[in-house]
């Protein structure tokens, strides 16, 4: 095997390669053909080589949707570059399609441009009469759209190595792409060994054969060969998706109970920790429903065990009453919401930032809680640790918002060094200080210490009813007002410790874009590209949404216009019946307008796709009346 790869390397060195700064690659297939595994591997190999990487998955709604269908497209996009990559980019440069039909959905989503290479499995050209016809028609249409088509005998080539080409074609494609983009073949082989580490030696070997065969085929048969320079960092890096980062974050936060109910796209955060968490001092409880999942976590937290519950929008809706209880009775809890398209069942596998207002205001009455939003994969890790700490210090539930884009997006980041102080000590079982009440609200901060079961003399009955400092049911109306003030004051106390956010770009200008969550990379890249062309645009990204980061009004005042960029719904003025007066704003815009009394505009949509820099640039062209893109 070694000799094979050496031979190929020698050959590669003879190939003339075009140096490029970055490339966007897609692998698209029917569900179950391993396209994602192929793309993830490509991403990991590139990260290992020191390239910047971002991957985003293309996931159909069903496990086994109809084959060769537009809706059934399953796959992945990998953007790799010489510099740090923070988003999925604009149009794909190179697409590998295991059948031609799955491309239609991507074309509708404007994922490709004239000049995009389409490498299409050619076995359909000799398939049933109906399929042949569809294949031929599609290729004609694709050519007309300006794509560069290469028909590739993937099935035929794979059958030289395996009896069932469906199993293994993805690794042949990986070899193909490794050749096209000058990826390190030894790293690719290591990746295969890791993927199939639980399989037999024979399985590993046949996949390695496929990898090398794909590599060699591209070398001999394709005209396009690139290289993407990289620099290896001295620092240790890890590469993972947002849900995996949450998994590690939960364990590194010293959390002792992860209580959940399966829901897309949040569940894989639990898969990532399932094998390890019990050795890391925690345990997963799969509850009977979403309500029980949070109730169980709240019970554990009440008893002094650190707890998290992980869910998505519909789960948050079900948990709302318990969230209100956790606020009312001041129970620390980390709640992770991996947002997806809503309302209702909505778009389970697609991205949306649609839960901000429901998380802030979903409960009955006034239920102030801390809300953080991660904007990078790295933050998905660190924010769980921060949230756990805040939950205990402020005796309150803390939300960490992420979304489907972060959940499945893969990005390298510096390897976190796990610190002992991230873990809690044993539960305090010493006698409770005499005379201190269960809710001894500090007049300045609203903060109080809580007794844990087991502490002599600390006995109290926690209640969701309005209660006084002793946790006794409040029959005096003044108590409710005082208690509500204390809970709200905790947020003000935390707000005092926060810094003003930093503007990306100049601190004054024509337009300030304000975002939150996973859109940060796309917004900042768009702003940088627009600024290169002279646009006076800057951006600001919020990470604390409750309490709000301070100083926003002063920052906003330096710009002629402020506009949020979000992936959620807002009315567009000019659409039937929509006016300045009745327009419904995007969620952050709504919130910031109330917060600052500034006439903040918004750009948002619910196509269920991550925002690309070009979408934002096109919006900026209209807003600023400038030409900022090549293809308008």
């Amino acid at each position: 095997m070694n000799s094979t790869s050496e031979t190929i390397h020698t050959k590669t060195n003879r190939t003339k390669r075009e140096t490029i700064k970055e490339a966007v690659v897609e692998i698209v297939s029917d569900s179950g053909e391993g396209a994602q595994k192929c793309g993830q591997s490509l991403g990991i190999i590139s990260a290992k080589m020191g390239n910047g990487v971002w991957t985003v998955e293309i996931i159909p709604a069903e496990i086994q949707p109809p084959a060769r269908s537009k809706e059934g497209a399953s796959g992945i996009r990998v953007r790799m570059g010489s510099n740090k990559i923070t988003n999925m980019g604009d149009h794909a440069d190179m697409v590998v399609a295991l059948n031609e039909q799955v491309l239609y959905g991507r074309i509708d989503q404007n994922a490709y441009k004239p000049g995009t290479y389409l490498l299409i499995e050619n076995k359909w050209a000799t398939h049933t009469e109906e399929t042949q016809k569809a294949y031929k028609e599609s290729l004609e249409r694709f050519t007309a759209l300006g794509y560069i088509i290469h028909e590739i005998p993937m099935e035929q080539e794979c059958l030289k190595h395996v009896s069932d080409a469906r199993k293994g074609k993805n690794m042949w494609v990986l070899g193909l792409l490794c050749n096209i983009y000058d990826r390190d073949l030894a790293m690719a082989a290591d990746q295969i060994k890791d993927i199939f580490r639980k399989k037999s030696e024979q399985v590993i070997q046949s996949n390695l054969d496929l990898l090398h065969a794909g590599y060699a085929w591209a070398e001999d048969n394709l005209p396009m060969h690139f290289t993407i320079p990289s620099r290896l960092s001295e620092e240790d890096f890890v590469v993972m998706n947002g849900n995996e980062a949450i998994s590690l974050g939960v364990m590194a936060a010293g959390i002792e109970l992860c209580s959940m109910y399966p829901i897309t796209p949040a569940t894989s955060a639990t898969h990532g920790m399932a094998e390890t968490i019990e050795s890391a001092g925690g345990i997963i409880h799969q509850a009977e429903d979403e309500i029980a999942a949070i109730g169980f976590a709240i019970g554990a937290s009440y008893a002094g065990k650190t707890a998290v519950t992980i869910t998505s929008g519909p789960g948050i809706a079900l948990k709302t009453e318990f969230i209100g209880l956790a606020v009312m009775a001041e129970i620390p809890l980390v709640i992770i919401d991996v947002q997806r398209g809503g309302p209702s069942t909505g778009l389970p596998t697609k991205v949306e930032q649609g839960d901000l207002l429901s998380v802030l205001y979903g409960a009955a009455g006034d239920a102030p809680k801390i809300v953080l939003a991660a904007s990078t994969i790295e933050q998905c890790f660190h924010y769980v640790i921060l949230a756990r700490k805040l939950a205990e210090s402020f005796r309150t539930p803390v939300f960490v918002l992420t979304d489907a884009n972060l959940a499945t997006g893969v990005q390298p980041f510096p390897r976190p060094k796990i610190k002992e102080e991230w873990f809690t000590g044993p539960i305090d079982q010493s006698p409770w200080k005499e005379g201190v009440k269960a809710y001894d609200w500090d007049a300045q901060t609203g903060l109080s210490q809580r007794p844990f079961p087991g502490q002599k003399g600390g006995m109290y009955t926690l209640t969701g009813l309005a209660h006084d400092e002793d946790s006794h049911v409040a029959y005096d109306p003044a108590i409710n007002q005082r208690a509500a003030e204390s809970r709200s004051r905790k947020l003000a106390a935390l707000g005092q410790t926060l810094k003003s956010p930093v503007v990306h770009g100049d601190k004054t200008g024509d337009l300030l874009l304000v975002g939150w969550g996973s859109t940060r990379g796309a917004i900042e890249e768009a702003v940088e590209r627009a600024r290169e062309k002279g646009a006076k645009v800057s951006s600001l990204h919020l990470h604390f949404l409750s309490p709000m980061e301070p100083g926003l009004k002063a920052i906003f005042a330096k710009f002629k216009k402020v506009m949020t960029v979000e992936i959620n719904y807002s009315d567009t003025i000019g659409n039937p019946l929509i006016t300045e007066e009745n327009r419904r704003y995007a969620q952050l815009a709504w919130y910031l307008r109330a917060h600052t009394l500034i006439d903040i505009d918004c750009f948002s949509n619910v196509y269920g796709q991550p925002l690309s820099p070009i979408q934002i640039l096109k919006m900026l062209e209209k807003e600023l009346d400038l030409t900022l893109t090549d293809h308008t």
Partner: protein
């Protein structure tokens, strides 16, 4: 207790605090006069005293409803949470705190209606805790609506012409669930039986489900008064392995039937036969049923160093 002479030797005896019933009593209960919950409260406080439960190691978890005010009247830790959700909270308390004594106080609306899903799963989890279902067959706190255990034809504010559906039989339903390990029934107006049942439930190594038929003198006077006064209304299920009453106490019951609590098939038959009389006693017990709280406690006490090592070894898999 054996009294030691103070000058018997030089070794100082550790001071052992002996809890009295009053050590478990908090504020005065605010239930209506004549409500069966008062009797149950006294029985539970008596159990705590008999078992010398450390108040700080004891947690009463309840939902919402008349009965769920119970934790406020105990001088232990308490959790008066949400309607129907006592089970998940109590399970969460117990899962990683095997040192705590956990009691669930729930009512017929709380357990058998809004919280029915949790009831099913709590039985299956079979964590060590005592569940007391205060079943008065009516929604009391919201002022007389039909409950899932209201007898058919019950006139209530939601069914002024009488309730339509046959009631849920909580004993029958519980006996049908997987991993069920302890099912008993008693009535609030037979204190000796109530006390013996609660004690037996406390001793059970798993989840003990006790339905207590409870009087509501305000909204269900006509349903309970004849039952309370009728010596034929109750049949005692008697067995050496069941709820054992002293002979004098047993003699007070007109109907006594032998029932072996290890026989689940017979238990289900007896549960279904609720027609003329109410059977009280231990329907079923299985001390060997698997317990989820044992799983929850299996990895407590791992050192921080070992935890960090486990996380780091997973992180290695993502290293580039």
């Amino acid at each position: 207790m054996i009294a030691l002479q103070p000058d018997f030797c030089d070794i100082k005896m550790p001071e052992v605090h002996q809890y009295g019933v009053e050590d478990y009593a908090s504020s005065k209960a605010r239930w209506c006069s004549g409500c069966g919950a008062h009797t149950i409260l006294h029985s539970v406080q008596k159990l705590c005293e008999e078992e010398q439960l450390a108040p700080e190691k004891t947690v009463f978890v309840s939902g919402i409803g008349c009965s769920s005010r119970f934790p406020h009247y105990m001088k232990t830790y308490g959790f008066h949470g949400l309607h129907g959700r006592a089970f998940p909270v109590a399970s969460g308390v117990k899962f990683r705190r095997p040192d705590l004594n956990v009691f669930v106080i729930t009512g017929d609306g709380d357990c058998c209606s809004i919280g029915a899903g949790h009831w099913v799963h709590a039985i299956r989890y079979n964590m060590k805790m005592v569940v007391l279902l205060f079943d008065n067959s009516i929604y009391g706190l919201t002022k007389k609506q039909t409950s899932p255990t209201s007898p058919i034809g019950t006139v209530s504010n939601t069914h002024p012409r009488g309730s339509i559906l046959p009631p849920i039989n909580p004993i029958q339903a519980t006996l049908g669930l997987p991993n069920v390990s302890f099912v008993a029934q008693t009535v609030d107006w037979k204190p000796a039986h109530l006390q013996a049942t609660i004690k037996k439930a406390y001793e059970h190594p798993g989840l003990s489900f006790v339905r207590i038929v409870q009087r509501c003198p305000v909204f269900m006077r006509d349903t309970y008064e004849p039952t309370v006064k009728d010596p034929d209304a109750i049949t005692v299920l008697h067995h050496d392995e069941g709820i054992v009453l002293e002979e004098d106490a047993l003699k007070k019951f007109r109907h006594v039937e032998s029932h072996d609590p290890s026989d689940i098939v017979k238990a289900r038959e007896v549960a279904e036969l609720v027609k003329e009389t109410t059977p009280i006693g231990l329907f079923y017990q299985n001390k060997e049923a698997s317990r989820y709280d044992e799983y929850g406690a299996h990895n407590l006490g791992i050192s921080v160093e070992d935890r960090i090592e486990a996380i780091n070894s997973l992180m290695d898999r993502y290293a580039v």
